[in-house]
Amino acid sequence: MTRPMADAPSQAPDDVLAYPMSRAAGCPLDPPPELSELRDEAPLARIRLWDGSTPWLVTRHAEQRALLADPRVSADATLPGYPHISESTRERRTNSGISFISMDNPEHARLRRMVTGPFTIRRIETLRPAVQQIADRLIDDLLAGPKPADLVQAFALPVPSLVICQLLGVPYEDHDFFQTSSRTLINRSTSVQAMRETQAALLSYLDRLVGQKLAAPGDDLLSRLAVERVSTGQLTRGELASMGLLLLIAGHETTANMIALGTLALLCHPSQLAALQEARDPELIAGAVEELLRYLNIVHSGRRRVALEDIEIAGQVIRAGEGLVIATDVANRDEAAFPRAGVLDVHRDAHHHLAFGFGIHQCLGQPLARLELQVVYGTLYRRIPTLALAASLDDIRFKHDGIVYGVYELPVTW
């Protein structure tokens, strides 16, 4: 493929590949082969999106780290040139936004810092016994129930949903509503109309909840923000609803996908599963969490950005106003950063993976996600040593259209 010279205006040739690409049949845990080929050819390439636009694709670990941490790169989804995932996500992001993840500094920092307090390493660590108790109780229920069972509904979704509900102060009995709505919101194929309605329903749900917290605050994050920020005029009620929605969706859907897809990956790699089952060292479990985050990289639609100024990188010039799709899934399989990158190896040092992103937008909830995954991977396979798939790999439905990858169901037996 021809690429523009550094001193020529950036112009995409007509033969650029459409993005996103499809994963290969029979390899549901690997990134699309065409995407990996683009990475092997060059650190930057052009791709064609659903709307015909041809932003840059950034393929390699080093360039992705550099660009994600570059203040000349913006996450503002209202800017022209921002590479939207689909028509419906463009509609959602440009109309109401999703709080600080689509903002730049200083506004991003002002809002994000209002919610970082509960996510310090020390505070998250105090939740470990409660998360362990939740996991153990759900496994007790699973073992007492019929088999086969769907691990997604019985375990993967409830663990992070129960935890985030408690942290935010969202009633868990509403989980069917917010889980189903979240799945609609983060699906590329959702129609503009459905996106609009689902977003409105979730925002009005959160807004009602904020109203209740203002009237009768409890011991939870939404109550604290309502009392300390909304009552004092630092945040509008709408801003808090939007922020609460972000934390609620990001707080359950991503971790749930990592639990179910991680379990599937381990069941497909029995020696790796055995290493986890025999592990007595919490460091090995923690390392396995990082490796599964790297290997699966469930946020598989690329981090989306737009250049605010001309940026010279890897012998190219990204022009101001050009879009960037930063495909962390293939950077996490970049041999320069991870030798034998295609191999799942729980003993590997994978700490520098980009599954949570990099730069100022790196995942806010990552300490919580790590804790949940450490508890789950350290408990589930040890307590159910005979855990096995109750379906063939071909019959499992994967979230190919999801902005976050995973499985819709995971039938298991023991």
């Binding site: 994600l68 941490a69 920092a109 994000r112 810092r113 209002m114 970082t116 307090g117 996510f119 310090t120 390493i121 020390r122 700490h351 520098h352 992103g357 990099f358 730069g359 100022i360 790196q362 806010l364 990552q366 300490p367």
Partner: protein, 65 residues
């Protein structure tokens, strides 16, 4: 080695505290980085370099002395 942190740039990821808990700390109210010591011991310097490379906000710098 002398360590400096940029509290304006910090995004409270906590990587520094995970990697070098005796050198870095997080403010209680917003998780922003603070220093327990500016001058890590020889034994702590490897952990500090790891914290520097993992910091997503590039908020930690070290000067070798």
């Amino acid at each position: 080695m002398r360590v400096r942190v940029d509290q304006e740039a910090c995004i409270s990821s906590g990587h520094c505290v995970r990697n070098a808990p005796d050198v870095f700390d997080q403010r209680e109210d917003d998780g922003v980085v603070s220093l327990r010591t500016e001058r890590p011991s020889a034994a702590q310097q490897g952990e500090v370099r790891c914290a520097v490379s993992m910091c997503p906000a590039l908020a930690i710098t070290v000067a070798e002395e």
